[in-house]
C-alpha cells in the first residue's frame, strides 16, 4: 500500500476517533444535569418533560395534516412509540435515557432530544408551550 492510500486511511481514522471523542465530550458536558425530554415540532419546542421515574405518559404530536408521532415516556426514558412516517427511523432510535441522545423524524419534522437542565430539576411535571 502506498503513501497516499495510507494518508487517506489515517485521515479517516482521525475523523472517526474525533467524532467519537466529540460526542463523548458533548455527553460529558450534559452529565449530572437533570434529563429533560424536549419534543420539537417544526423547529419549535412542543413540550418539555422532566425525565423522572414517576412520570408515565404518552404525548401525541399531531399536525394539521393528520401526521403524528406518539411519544412515550416511561421509567425515566423516552421513545417514539408510533408514527405514520414512511421510514420509521424515529421509532428505530429506540429508548433514550442519556442527555444528548436524540430521535428524529424528518418527514414529520419532529425530534425528541434529551437535554440537560441545571435548575428546576425537582419540578414534578411537564409544562407545555
Amino acid at each position: 500500500m502506498n503513501r497516499v492510500n495510507k494518508l487517506i486511511y489515517a485521515i479517516l481514522a482521525i475523523l472517526i476517533i474525533g467524532s467519537f471523542i466529540g460526542v463523548a465530550v458533548y455527553e460529558q458536558m450534559l452529565k449530572g444535569q437533570a434529563p429533560v425530554a424536549v419534543i420539537y415540532k417544526d423547529k419549535q419546542i412542543f413540550q418539555r418533560v422532566y425525565l423522572t421515574k414517576s412520570i408515565n405518559k404518552q404525548i401525541n404530536v399531531r399536525d394539521s395534516d393528520g401526521h403524528y408521532n406518539l411519544v412515550e415516556i416511561k421509567d425515566g426514558q423516552v421513545r417514539v412509540k408510533e408514527a405514520d412516517c414512511p421510514n420509521k427511523l424515529c421509532i428505530k432510535a429506540g429508548w433514550l435515557n442519556k442527555p444528548g441522545q436524540m430521535a428524529v423524524c424528518i418527514p414529520n419534522r419532529v425530534s425528541v432530544v434529551i437535554e440537560g437542565a441545571a435548575e428546576e430539576a425537582q419540578q414534578p411535571d411537564a409544562h407545555s408551550f
Binding site: I8, L12, I16, N87, Q101, M102, V104
Partner: protein
Amino acid sequence: MSNTKRLVIIALFIALATALNIVERFIPLPIAIPGVKLGLANTVTLLAILMLGWKDVFLIVTLRCLLAVLYGGNPVSFLFSITGGLFSALIMVLTWRYLGKHISIVTISLLGAVAHNIGQLFVAALIIQDFRIYVYLPVLLVSALITGYIVGVVATQTYKILLKIIETEG
C-alpha cells in the same frame, strides 16, 4: 468505447442500481440504527466512475434516485438519497480523477461512503435546524467503513471481469 456501447452500459447501470435499491430493502440489518444502509447501489456508481465519464456518473445517480421514488420511495427518502448520492459521487469522481493512480478502488469507495453519510446528516440537520443530529455521526461513520469496504471489494472484482469482457468483445 463507441457511443452505442456507452449508451447501453449507462442504461444497464441505471437498471442494475434500481434493482439493487429494491433488493436492499428486503435485506434485514443486524443493527437498528437510524440511517444505516448497505448502499449496494454505490457499487454501480463506483463502476460508472471507473468505466464512464463524470457526466454519465451524475446522470446515473440522479436517474436511479428518481426511479427509486417510483418503486416505493417518498419525497424525503428521495431528498436524502439524491444529496447523499451526488455528494458521494462528487467525492469519488474527484479522488479518482486526481488520486486514482495512487489509491485503490476500495479507498475511493470508503471515501464515498463516508461522504454519503456526512452529506445526509447535513441535509437532516438543515431540515430540522438542529445540528445536534451529528451525535449519530460516529456510528454512521463506522457503518460507512464496513459497507464502503464491501462495496469497494465487490466493485473491484466486478470491474476486473467487466474489463475482460469489454476487451474480448472489442
